[in-house]
Amino acid sequence: MLMEVEISRRKFLQGTVAMSVVGATALSTTNLLSNDHGGHGKSVKAGAVSFHNTKTGQGEGHDVATLCEMCVNKCAALARVENGVVTKLNPNPMFPKSKNMLCARGNAGIQALYDPDRLKYPMIRIGEKGEGKFKRVTWDEAYAAILDGTDKFPGLSKILEEEEDNRSSMLFCAGEGMAEHTFKQFYQAFGSANWLNHASICLQTVASGYGVTLGSYPQADLDNAEYIIMAGANRAEAIVTPDTMDAFKRTKGRGAKMICIDPRFTNTAAKADKWLAIKPGTDLALVLALTYVTLTEELEDKVYIEKFFNGYNEYRESVISNKYTPEWAEPITGISAKDIYEMARDFAAHAPKSVYYPGRRSTFAKNDFQLRRAMAIFQAMHGAIDCKGGLIFGGKLALKPHEGLAPLYEMAQARAVVKRTDKEGHQGYDDCAVVSGGGSWIGWRNRFLEDKMPYKVRGMFCYKHNPMMNMPNTQKTAEMLRKMDLVVTIDTMPSDTVMYADVVLPECTYLERTDPVKTFGGVEPSIAVRNKVIDPMFESKPVMDILKGLTTKISKPLFEISKEYDEEIQDLIEEDGEEETYAEFDLTLPFLHSQEELNHHAVSGYEGAAEKLHHDGVFYPKQDEYFKQISANEHQYYPENKKSYSVRGGKPVTPSGKVECVIASFAKKGIDPMPMWRDEYEFSVPEGKFKLLTGRHAQFTQSGSANNAMLNDLMPENFVWINKRVAAEKGIKFADMIEVSSSIGSTKLKAYPTEKIAPDQVFFIHGFGEESEALTWAYKNGGNDNAIIEDTIEPVYGAAAMHETNVSIKKV
């Protein structure tokens, strides 16, 4: 029987929330490339700048192999260049990780390159902090302002002089990206102990949960899994990732059964075989109940457990004696006991080709770390670790390291954290029990605001990072930035954070620079590189060159300050002379070589790799022999018998080589040594309020892609999802303006009444509603979730728990 479906453009227009049309008209190329962006960040008026989209030519062009930076995935792309202009980004089929795909954002990368709002030249602040008034300066003037300050702000010299060479008085923070490594070298060479990155507002708890339990944050072999529990992971929408695309070709009776578990009905739910609505933050109860069924019905892989488990009996005893039954879990999670029994049995029946997808998202609930531990243990109980169709560790190709510079300054204080002493009344680092490399962003920020630092932190370097948009409680972040004496931002766009800068250094986009070569582990390991496609536009530079210029300016003068205060340096000078001593503190050292030279060195262990990477963007041994085109869409990267499905015979990567069910040392820190349910984890919303959910979207990454003209065309603003029946009760119709308020603030955006969300929850997509007037498309284009998400700290790693906020809604 042939099925008939109605597919109409009008239907599309009615059915989507992307209804409004961006009033974009043609902008000439000369205007786009000109420098008349005004002398400050506020010169761009909405509507004055618009956007031009040309078709690709029929004639000559050449392709440059690069890696996308529109999100974190680094898919391989081929940039088509015609007469020096990038006219199209296509998928590079050579890369096993991204397998010949480029999503909407990847395609729209051209608009990041040719965004008329881009930062074009260095600027220094001339207005009030946060006002966004800057003047254009030369690179040397910008570097000089960082060193010596202006009448508006102090420079590094003054700060370090006053803080007696405490290098930790400067904070360094960076967003995720291939060049984060380069910026981190600057932080290490500078000698500060204060480093913050995206980890604590991203996947810190999931990576750590799997890390301490299995010794690794594994990948999922969704190419071969037969049963997939996709819980709290919206893989069809949230940052469309190459590693999960395969699964969507196999659902709906085509080889893999996928159960989607999510409080919202998402595109992933639509593509799954079954969708189970769960109450937010209760996944741990579900996993414990699945574990209970597995144990009581003896569905586990006893051989694997015998060989590779530590603390199994203790955990087993806990789950059974606590009676984590499906009947117990039903009222907590909202998922029926029958469905839980079925899932546990199906999972076991398909094991080891079963995957409880680990997830790649931010921390939503305070129990997230324990949830991830429970998931890892549940997966491992079925022996579905390091094997085809299960979770895999994969292979990895080694790169040669290069030398960095990490001098110790005597006067540099430790990280601005007072160590927890567990003494009553003592001011300790009680944001979280474990302090890891990334630190806790909101914990750090809040202590800074509350003057609980052990010493003064007076300024910050911020690279490709937008704290104003990226972490809960925007108002507090603004206060932090205002309180900093010196804020230096390195970015491509005039973001909300850049508006608070004292010195703005314009980086070029990813299509204008070569980044550190990277190795990608997995079933089909490879090395890939981001090659520069075109020369940097305007006066922008790669961060490598920016840091080379900056360190050349500041290295010697700052050393002079160290000489005053650092007795060890004084002694060294006495012993070895000044020149030899300075060589160990010379900030310019990490930036002496070009990125191309460093990459060449990194892959010098593989014959022909550098040339291959330059030409194809991708390298792995025997690539020429293995790589084959199978069809227009499909390629072979490795023959089946050469794939790294199993690299350790199932053995976990933990120091003990075992799955760690019980981690006794946690108990001393007040953390449950094994996953347990606590009553306070139960989902509840006060009468008349709604739990605020946030999330990501297939056409936007975070605030970083918010000003992309092409992506805005697909979705010009975010809408707040409100249950249809609730909306009807409140007289709320589609596109009515709604004020969403929490205890810390409010934001306004339009309503999307839908049955895809529960009556006691509301949802909207993260990354919208920026306040920077220099962003033509992103300026106030909807609501900013972080203006209302309360700064709830997850207790183990200090991650921001983003689904713990109750809000009220009002039609305005």
Binding site: L2, M3, E4, V5, E6, I7, S8, R9, K11, F12, G15, M19, V21, V22, F51, T54, K55, T56, G57, Q58, G61, K88, L89, N90, M101, L102, C103, A104, R105, G106, N107, A108, I110, A236, E237, V240, F248, K249, K252, R254, F265, N267, T268, A269, A270, K274, W275, L276, S631, A632, N633, A698, M710, D713, L714, N723, T754, E755, K756, P759
Partner: protein, 187 residues
Amino acid sequence: MARYGMALDYKNCINCKACETACKEENGILMGADKHRIWVGTGEIEGQYPLLDISSNAFYPSQCQQCDEAPCEAVCPTQATYYDENGVVRVNPDQCILCSYCMNACPYDARYVEERGMTIDKCNFCSDTRLARGETTTACQNTCPTKVRIFGDLDDPNSEISEVLRTREHYSLKAHLGTKPKLFYLT
């Protein structure tokens, strides 16, 4: 000379809009939600939370059906809409007078007003961009994360699309209208 067609493994579609974006970038399509050569149709979800009907929210990637008996070509008073040598329904902007007969005639709602070129535009299988350069895929096929589309020559028995249409069940949209689309939805 070829007879180009496209098979759509539409169950793979996750409505990520990579195809729409690739099409816009490749073919220089104007901004605006009503200016798409290709789009993904979605059904409004049926049921009440949490009892929702998964199948009601399926995604249908769509574009010009490249009919062998194209109503838009038949009604065009100026022959602006024509078949090229590869059987692709094309539009000559110089001859288009924006009478919009084609828009009304098309049962698939595939045509829209292109204000920059002042023409009633539609998908042309990237004929004047990628195919003109000798490439063998359309922008939408090439970029698709879940590989929904297979494009090729229906007259070549050895082409991938011919092979797929021989071996897999498929249907055409509104087949009863006799438009003979060259887009095939794989079941």
